[in-house]
C-alpha cells in the first residue's frame, strides 16, 4: 500500500491539552509523519521586561516570579543574586540555606507536574491526578512559609523575607518521607509501565554530539550522557557545601530524560535533608536602603541557576538610577521550545509531538516574558 503523498497543514494549539501552555505548533504532515514544524508564540506576551524598566528595583520581584508558572523561584533567586552582585551585598548564610531549600522544593514540585504532563500526553490519566495531588503537599509548605502557594515573592535582595516558622523543618521532613515512599508507586504505575517504555525508548532522540551546540541544557542534556549542571559547574548559594552528584543517563531519548528527572527527585530530597541538618542560626536578611530611594550602582551582571528545565539566566544592567536599564531573562524553553523542537519534530509521528514537547519541559511564558 502506498501512502498518499499529500501535504496537509495541522495546527496544534494554542488550545490543546497536549501543549504545555499557550503556544502553537504548525505542522506540515504527510500521512501521520511530520515533515516540517514551526513554533508560533505570542499568546502570552505580557511585556514584563519592558514593564520592569519603569519599575523600582523592589517592584520587580513580584513581576519576575510570574515569568515561569510551574517553577517561579529560580526567577526570584536569579534577580536577587544579580542585584547582590552589582551592589556587592552580602547574604547571611542561613538565608542561603533557606534559598537552596526553597529552590529544591520547587524543583520537586515542578518535576511532579512534569510527571503528570508526560504521562497525560501518553494517555495514562491516573498519573496527573496523583502527581498534582502530591505536589499540593509541597505547595502547602510554601503557603506556610511564604503565604503564597504558586508565586512566593519570598527570596529578595539580601536574603529571604522571613525566617522558618516553628516546627517547619519537621513538617518538611514528613512531606519528604511521604514523597520518597510514594516514588515506588510511581515506578510501578509509570516508569516501569510497558506503555511508557514503548512510547519513550528510542523516540525523540537528541544527537549527543550536537546537544551542546544546539543549546540543550538541563535534564535533556544530562539525558544525552553529558554531565553538566549549573549547581556543580558554577556553584551558587551553598551548593558547594552539599554532597550530590550530577545524574546522567545514556541514550538521549525521552526515556533517558525521564530517568534523569526521576533520579533527580530522589537527589533533591537528599539535598533538602542535608540543608535541614546543616542549616546554621542567625539572621535571614541583610537589609538595604529604603526601597523607594534604592539606587543601584551602574554595572551589569549575568547570573544563572539550574532550574528544573535547565539553565535559567538573568542579565541585569543598571545605569545607576532608581530603575533597571535592562533585565533580560534567559529561559531554557526559549531554545528548547523553538529551534530545538522544530528540529526534533521532523520525521516524528503526530501522536508523539506532545510527548516530545513534554519531555523537553517547554514552558511558553518564559519564551515571551
Amino acid at each position: 500500500m502506498t501512502q498518499v503523498e499529500k501535504e496537509t497543514t495541522l495546527y496544534l494549539g494554542p488550545q490543546h491539552p497536549g501543549i504545555t501552555g499557550n503556544m502553537m505548533i504548525e505542522l506540515k504532515v504527510t500521512g501521520d509523519t511530520v515533515q516540517r514544524a514551526k513554533t508560533h508564540v505570542g499568546y502570552l506576551h505580557r511585556g514584563f521586561e519592558k514593564l520592569m524598566e519603569e519599575r523600582l528595583w523592589m517592584q520587580c520581584f513580584p513581576i519576575v516570579c510570574r515569568i515561569c508558572v510551574p517553577e517561579p523561584d529560580p526567577n526570584e533567586e536569579n534577580l536577587a543574586r544579580a542585584i547582590e552582585e552589582i551592589e556587592g551585598r552580602e547574604v547571611p548564610e542561613r538565608a542561603q540555606y533557606i534559598r537552596v531549600m526553597v529552590l529544591e522544593l520547587s524543583r520537586i514540585a515542578s518535576y511532579f507536574l512534569w510527571m503528570g504532563g508526560q504521562a497525560g500526553s501518553m494517555g495514562l490519566y491516573t498519573m496527573p491526578q496523583w502527581t498534582v495531588g502530591d505536589r499540593d503537599y509541597i505547595l502547602d509548605l510554601f503557603e506556610e512559609l511564604t503565604g503564597g502557594r504558586v508565586y512566593h515573592m519570598y527570596i529578595w535582595a539580601g536574603g529571604v523575607r522571613r525566617d522558618l516558622p516553628d516546627g517547619f523543618a519537621g513538617r518538611v521532613r514528613r512531606v519528604l518521607d511521604y514523597l520518597e515512599e510514594r516514588l515506588t508507586d510511581y515506578d510501578r504505575l509509570f516508569f516501569q509501565n510497558a506503555l511508557f517504555l514503548k512510547r519513550s525508548q528510542g523516540v525523540g532522540v537528541i544527537d549527543k554530539d550536537k546537544a551542546m551546540e544546539w543549546g540543550v541544557v538541563g535534564p535533556p542534556l544530562r539525558g544525552c550522557g553529558i554531565a553538566h549542571d549549573v549547581r556543580k559547574d558554577e556553584p551558587y548559594e551553598v551548593y558547594d557545601k552539599l554532597d550530590f552528584e550530577i545524574i546522567t543517563h545514556e541514550g538521549g531519548d525521552i526515556y533517558a530524560r525521564a530517568m534523569v528527572r526521576r533520579r533527580e527527585i530522589e537527589q533533591s530530597i537528599s539535598i533538602i535533608r542535608q540543608v535541614l541538618d546543616k542549616m546554621p542560626g542567625g539572621p535571614v536578611h541583610n537589609p538595604g536602603p529604603n526601597p523607594l530611594k534604592w539606587k543601584l550602582p551602574a554595572g551589569e551582571a549575568y547570573v544563572r541557576t539550574e532550574s528544573a528545565r535547565g539553565e535559567f539566566g538573568y542579565y541585569v544592567v543598571s545605569d545607576g538610577s532608581l530603575k533597571p536599564r535592562r533585565i533580560h531573562v534567559r529561559g531554557p524553553a526559549y531554545v528548547h521550545g523553538v529551534s530545538l523542537l522544530e528540529k526534533m519534530l521532523v520525521g516524528a509521528n503526530i501522536a508523539d509531538v506532545s510527548v516530545i514537547m513534554n519531555s523537553l519541559g517547554t514552558c511558553p511564558p518564559e519564551i515571551e516574558r
Binding site: 508564540v41 505570542g42 506576551h45 511585556g47 521586561e49 519592558k50 514593564l51 524598566e53 519603569e54 519599575r55 523600582l56 517592584q59 552582585e85 551542546m212 551546540e213 544546539w214 543549546g215 553538566h228 559547574d233 558554577e234 523607594l292 551589569e300 549575568y302 544563572r304 539553565e311 539566566g313 542579565y315 544592567v317 538610577s321 532608581l322 536599564r325 535592562r326 533580560h328 534567559r330 526559549y334 531554545v335 523553538v338 529551534s339 530545538l340 528540529k343 515571551e368
Partner: protein
C-alpha cells in the same frame, strides 16, 4: 595563569582591537567593533571552546544614540562566561547574523529585530515572532511610551471611570500622608 587571563592573551594574538577585561571569576567582558563580530564569535567557538550560546541581549543606550548587542557565550570546558559587546548606531542599526554558527541564534535575532528594529544581515527569516501586525515603533526601544500606547488603545474597565486610587481613600480616612511612589518623574530627582 588562570583560565580568564589565558583566554584574553589568546584573543589578543588574533584580535588586537578587542578590549577585554575580567569582571570576576568566570566572567569576561569583551568590547569589539561590530563588523568583526561573526569572525570573533566563530573564533571563540572553534578555537577556545565557547560552544554554548547562552543568549543575545540588546540594551538601548538612547542617550548615546546607540544599541548595545551582548552575545553571551559559555565554555563548559573552562567554565568561563564571555559577554561579547558591540555597539550599533541607533538611527540605522545593522548587524551581521551569527546563524551559521548556532541555529538558536536565529530566534534571538528575530526577537531583537522585532523589539528593537535591529536589522540582521544574512538572516533568512526576520518575520514577526511575538507581536502581530505591529505598525508602531519597535516596542522595546526606550522612546516607545507604554502609557500613551495603553491610553490610546485600551479603555478602562466599566466601573473604573474615575480611576479611583484606593491608597488615596485610605490615606484620607486615616489622615496620613500618601507615600510618593515611583512612576512619576519626581521620584527620579
Amino acid at each position: 595563569m588562570n583560565h580568564e587571563e589565558h583566554i584574553i592573551n589568546t584573543i589578543h594574538t588574533t584580535f588586537k582591537s578587542a578590549e577585554a577585561e575580567i569582571q570576576r571569576k568566570g566572567r569576561l567582558l569583551i568590547r569589539l567593533r561590530s563588523d568583526l563580530l561573526p569572525a570573533f564569535v566563530s573564533y571563540l567557538k572553534n578555537y577556545l571552546d565557547f560552544n554554548h550560546l547562552v543568549m543575545i541581549s540588546c540594551v538601548d543606550w538612547m542617550e548615546d544614540n546607540q544599541f548595545e548587542l551582548v552575545y553571551h557565550l559559555y565554555s563548559y570546558a573552562q567554565k568561563v562566561h564571555a559577554m561579547v559587546k558591540v555597539r550599533l548606531n541607533r538611527s540605522q542599526p545593522q548587524a551581521q547574523t551569527i546563524l551559521p554558527f548556532w541555529d538558536q541564534a536565529g530566534t534571538y535575532e528575530r526577537e531583537i529585530h522585532e523589539m528593537y528594529g535591529v536589522y540582521f544581515e544574512g538572516h533568512p527569516d526576520l518575520s514577526e515572532f511575538i507581536l502581530e501586525d505591529w505598525d508602531d515603533i519597535p516596542p522595546m526601544r526606550r522612546d516607545f511610551k507604554t502609557r500613551e500606547f495603553v491610553n490610546e488603545n485600551y479603555e478602562w474597565r466599566k466601573g473604573r471611570e474615575d480611576a479611583q486610587d484606593v491608597r488615596r481613600t485610605i490615606s484620607e480616612r486615616y489622615d496620613e500622608k500618601l507615600p510618593q511612589f515611583n512612576n512619576d518623574d519626581k521620584a527620579n530627582g
